[in-house]
């Protein structure tokens, strides 16, 4: 009942073996439209009614494998590259942000794009500091290319990524004055988490990255500025360079646990149980055993019993990106992505504009009295924007084409596609009474009213 009202209740502990065993649809948790919508909302941004019906007719593992294939047609990739080049030609990072918004809305591989958003928050780099949008695009492409791949390889590449080095003030790193920013964030934010290293580890590791520079937008190793001396950190001693430093960090026991717990918070639940080591451990072990490959871990998560259970559904708060892109994708919506990206920025989740190197905290931090109003306004702007079309039509015409003409039919359809938890009956009745059949304004108002319900903000 509490879950139905959208209130998040946290259990103290969840059994890891039960959690990561494969999901078997049954009477209690069937593989139905609701479960399929949950999968698409979490693994991607959302699915149309037709996609959901298609998913339900197939095996859940097949649907997950399709999502994790990350396949985008060559023509789509080519078109996106051209669009990115055009956005870059303007010299404005805002245009690139709009391009990413366009990509999120139109990609056929939404799980790949969602995971790219995850890594963007994990390896947070902001275009307001990295003034060259070309560097931001290079990083964005790296994150997408490695989104399902080898985490170790990704960390290695991000350590040499010009945008990251510029963002962490490591564009010049001389042996006389090693820059500690990158080594600190590598351990604290990217691989291990707080409390898993000492200040000495930071200082010693910073020496490994001396001579790593950015010149004319490209990574350069300046051997004359590299400290070739012996370094001791995280229990190892040697004449280590940057590559060895990354390898040593990734060898730490806490590395897979840290990454897996972040993946869980992003894909499964905003708040982990108070005692969660048993929940994390099996997944971290699998992550380690597969050589830190990301795709198998995601597959385990998305096909798990936990993922389709009450511990997961409705247990996340939609981020602004999930809210806006999800709403549009579920209804085949297209819009002015320049305005969309600006609105997302105002709501605190500007694409390419994370608030700090920590990325977005997510969860309950998305909601306060100011952002709640902002989210409502965003939905209104999206629905009423003259460039917003749903399946190339107005919302009313789009729904009408799907046989949804009466207000209660529309509300039922919206509930299945857009809501993680049921809409209270009283709210449904109230909104239905506001809607007059057959008018664009009334249909738009009805959808907007639904999107202002607390339940809509749960994912």
């Amino acid at each position: 009942m509490d879950q139905q009202r959208g209130v998040i209740l946290m259990e103290n502990e969840i059994d890891g073996n039960w959690a990561w065993s494969s999901f078997v649809p049954g009477a209690e948790v069937p593989w139905d439209l609701k479960a399929a919508a949950h999968l698409y909302r979490r693994a991607g941004f959302g699915a149309t009614r037709e996609m959901l019906e298609n998913a339900v007719s197939r095996d859940v593992c097949d649907v997950v494998d399709e999502l994790l294939s990350g396949d985008e047609p060559e023509s789509f990739r080519l078109q996106m590259s051209r669009l990115a080049a055009a956005a870059l030609a303007s010299g404005k990072a805002e245009q690139l942000s709009a391009w990413w918004g366009y990509r999120l809305l139109s990609t056929p591989a939404q799980c790949l794009e969602k995971t790219t958003v995850f890594w963007h928050g994990h390896f947070a780099t902001g275009a307001d500091k990295v003034t060259d949008p070309g560097l931001m695009l290079t990083q964005n492409e790296l994150l997408r290319l490695s989104a399902f791949g080898d985490f170790g390889e990704l960390v290695g590449k991000i350590s040499r990524d010009p945008a990251m080095l510029v963002y962490l003030d490591s564009a010049t790193n001389r042996k006389a004055h090693p820059n500690e920013n990158f080594s600190r964030e590598l351990m604290e934010l990217f691989c291990l988490g707080e409390g898993r290293y000492s200040e000495v580890d930071i200082r010693e590791m910073a020496r490994c990255f001396t001579g790593w520079e950015v010149r004319r937008g490209e990574f350069r190793f300046n051997r004359y500025q590299h400290d070739t001396g012996v370094k001791t950190f995280l229990g190892e001693t040697g004449e280590f360079g940057g590559e060895e430093a990354v390898r040593i960090v990734l060898k730490q026991q806490s590395a897979p646990e840290f990454v897996v717990s972040k993946l869980l918070r992003f894909f499964v639940m905003d708040e982990l149980p108070q005692r969660h080591s048993d929940l994390i451990e099996p997944l971290a072990r699998e992550f380690r055993e597969t050589g830190l490959q990301i795709r198998p871990v995601l597959r385990r998560i998305l096909t798990s019993r936990l993922f389709y259970s009450r511990y997961s559904t409705g247990r996340r708060i939609k981020s602004p990106v999930e809210l806006a892109i999800g709403l549009l994708r579920c209804l085949e919506g297209t819009t002015n992505t320049q305005e969309l990206s600006e609105s997302l920025r105002q709501l605190g989740q500007g694409l390419l504009y994370p608030p700090s190197v920590k990325g977005w905290d997510g969860g309950r931090t998305w909601i306060n009295s100011s952002t709640l109003l902002g989210r409502s306004n965003l939905v209104r702007r999206l629905i009423t924007n003259q460039n917003t079309r749903f399946g190339k039509k107005s919302l009313r015409e789009y729904l009408s084409d799907q046989g949804l003409k009466r207000p209660f039919e529309m509300i039922e359809a919206f509930e299945k596609m857009l809501f993680a938890v049921p809409i209270p009956v009283a709210a449904k009745e109230r909104i239905e009474s506001l809607m007059r059949p057959g008018t664009d304004v009334s249909t738009n108002e009805g959808l907007h009213a639904l999107c202002t319900l607390p339940e809509f903000h749960l994912c």
Partner: protein, 595 residues
């Protein structure tokens, strides 16, 4: 016998009365009806011809025949408009065009009366019957539209219908609409019996006669504004202000504003011909109307004229003007407010630094003749690397030096300083550096600069926008060309000059190179459209194609300001061309008249 003769006479008088009286009514002109106190009068004397010139135009027929046009009309809004048209046709019992032609066959006239502040619309139909039909249909449409007739009055046996914002009546073949009852009554009085009506009509106004004498016989839209009356009534005060307070507005229109303060009237004539659209605005003019503080605008005795334009291939725009900018700068104290003068003083100080401490207004601007021009031309990047992703046209400012021997070395040094300044700023921002070169010959000095391509850009066909520029200065004879591109500067220096135009200001835009520039930036514009409208590439491309196809019909557009001894004329012309356009935008051009 006498009785018979008298009867014959009586019959003749009756026949005369029956035939001549209606004729007198038919001969009534709108300018006999509109009061002399009118401040604006607009006339479409032959609406049938005007409508035909638009609807039956070769270009219009081609546009409506395009697939993209048909697709664009497949919208609910368009279908609603079609439904409204059908309803109108049903009401009138004839096809819409025939109905419109019948209703406005003898002219449509609009006026604003300065005395009553009333707006007046006069429509003269084919005959009395059609106008009576219109009256009835108007009543019906008004009711259907939810507007209720607030009052039905009878004025001198004519039913007058009053709605919330206006009233209307039909007198013989005239439909009279006005938002002011006093103005409406005045019109009805004149229509019913001109000889008994009070006051003067427009036909008796001297300045109206002057203006209408100069109008052409071609059908079109003609308007007249009684500036003298407007000034006397204190209307449109902004138009007659003494100063613009804005340097750019002053530079563009300062002199015209002085003329508006003195001229009695201004008339405008708009015509659609087979070749295109022509607009001509005229007003009386006298050189001594221009105050001393604005002598820089038209020159001594208003003799200032534009220079000759160089013939440069792929020119998409030229702007030629006569403006004594130096004098305007030095007279800033008389022309602008304190705030603007402060800003100009600050700018002068900064510019003085760039120009080696020389007085910007006196020595720099003053070193050039007031006749100047700006030329914009398409750039060809097909053989150039790096080629910018956004391909801007090149532009050049062409000036005539009063004292070339003194100014040439000064300007050369200034240009070199400016390039050095750009390099310092560019280096701070990680931009490529400009490399300079100087070439001298017997006929010209050329100082060029080019951005040295960064390694990553060297073979790039989509490089940053900065590669559009290769700032160049050329000196030849008394001419100084400052151009954004070396190629354009050299072409201008070597180009043949076109014949001089008798104009004070002239702007020309050419359609073909403008289309080519749009096409050069095709992918960029399509991408922009995709992001702004959320369209797919195909949709955005189709929309771009529509713009390109519509642009096919633009041959050129021109604007000229010509002062003569007694008149100031502003002429605007848009020349259209019918094409054998295909869906891919290629076209086999021909004359619009089909020759």
């Amino acid at each position: 016998m006498l009785r018979s003769l008298r009867n014959v006479c009586v019959m003749l008088v009756m026949v005369y009365g029956l035939t001549v009286m209606p004729l007198a009514a038919q001969d009534l002109r709108p300018i006999d009806v509109v009061p002399a106190t009118a401040v604006l009068y607009l006339e479409i004397s032959d609406p049938v011809a005007v409508m035909a010139s638009v609807i039956d135009h070769a270009v219009m027929k081609q546009i409506t025949g395009l697939d993209v046009f048909r697709r664009a009309t497949e919208t609910p809004e368009f279908y609603r408009a079609i439904a409204a048209r059908k309803f109108f046709e049903l009401q009138m019992g004839m096809e819409w065009r025939a109905a419109v032609e019948a209703i406005g066959q003898k002219g449509v006239y609009f006026a604003v009366d300065g005395k009553t502040r009333g707006n007046i619309l006069l429509v003269r139909g084919r005959d009395e019957q059609i106008m009576q039909d219109v009256r009835l249909k108007l009543l019906e449409l008004t009711r259907l539209g939810g507007d209720q007739i607030r009052k039905l009055e009878t004025y001198r046996d004519i039913p007058v219908y009053r709605l919330e914002k206006f009233g209307f009546a039909v007198v013989r073949d005239w439909l009279v609409v006005s938002n002011n009852s006093e103005a409406g009554k005045l019109l009805l009085d004149r229509l019913l019996d001109l000889s008994a009506a009070d006051g003067e009509s427009l036909s008796g106004v001297k300045s109206f006669g002057e203006a209408s004498a100069a109008r052409s016989a071609e059908p079109g839209v003609w308007s007249w504004v009684h500036l003298e009356n407007l000034r006397a009534l204190g209307l449109a005060e902004g138009l007659f202000a003494e100063r613009t307070e804005n340097p750019l507005a002053e530079l563009l229109f300062g002199g015209i504003q002085s003329v508006l303060r003195k001229a009695q009237w201004v008339s405008t004539e708009l015509q659609m011909t087979a070749q295109g659209l022509n607009l001509k605005t005229s007003m009386p003019f006298a050189a001594d109307w221009i105050p001393e503080s604005r002598q820089w605008y038209f020159g001594q005795d208003a003799q200032g004229r534009v220079p000759a334009v160089p013939e440069v291939p792929e020119t998409l725009m030229t702007l030629q003007a006569y403006r004594g900018v130096s004098e305007m700068w030095l007279r800033a104290g008389d022309l602008f407010d304190e705030q603007t003068n402060d800003r100009m003083a600050e700018a002068e100080s900064n510019l003085g630094t760039i120009f080696g401490g020389r007085d910007f207004g006196e020595e720099v601007l003053g070193a050039f003749s007031p006749a100047m021009q700006l030329l914009v031309a398409r750039q060809d990047f097909s053989e150039v690397r790096p080629a910018p992703a956004i391909r801007l046209p090149a532009f050049a400012l062409i000036l005539t030096m009063d004292d070339p021997e003194t100014m040439r070395p000064e300007l050369r040094r200034t240009f070199q300083s400016a390039i050095g300044f750009f390099n310092i700023v560019g280096a701070q921002q990680g931009q490529p550096q400009l490399e300079m070169d100087i070439q001298k010959s017997d006929v010209m000095d050329v100082i060029t600069s080019h951005y040295v391509a960064q390694k990553k850009d060297q073979a790039n066909p989509a490089a940053p926008v900065i590669y559009n520029f290769s700032p160049t200065a050329v000196f030849f004879g008394d001419q100084f060309v400052l151009s954004s591109s070396e190629s354009l500067a050299r072409t201008i220096a070597e180009a043949r000059r076109l014949p001089l135009e008798d104009a004070h200001t002239a702007v020309a835009v050419e359609g073909t190179p403008l289309r080519a520039v749009l096409n050069d930036n095709r992918e960029q514009l399509i991408s922009q459209n995709m992001l702004q409208k959320g369209q797919t590439h195909d949709e955005a491309e189709a929309e771009f194609q529509v713009i390109l196809q519509l642009m096919e019909y633009l041959q050129n557009a021109k604007l000229r300001l010509v002062p003569s001894e007694s008149q100031l004329t502003l002429e605007a012309a848009v020349q259209l061309q019918a094409t054998g356009s295909t869906e891919d935008g290629s076209a086999a051009r021909g004359n619009s008249d089909g020759k």
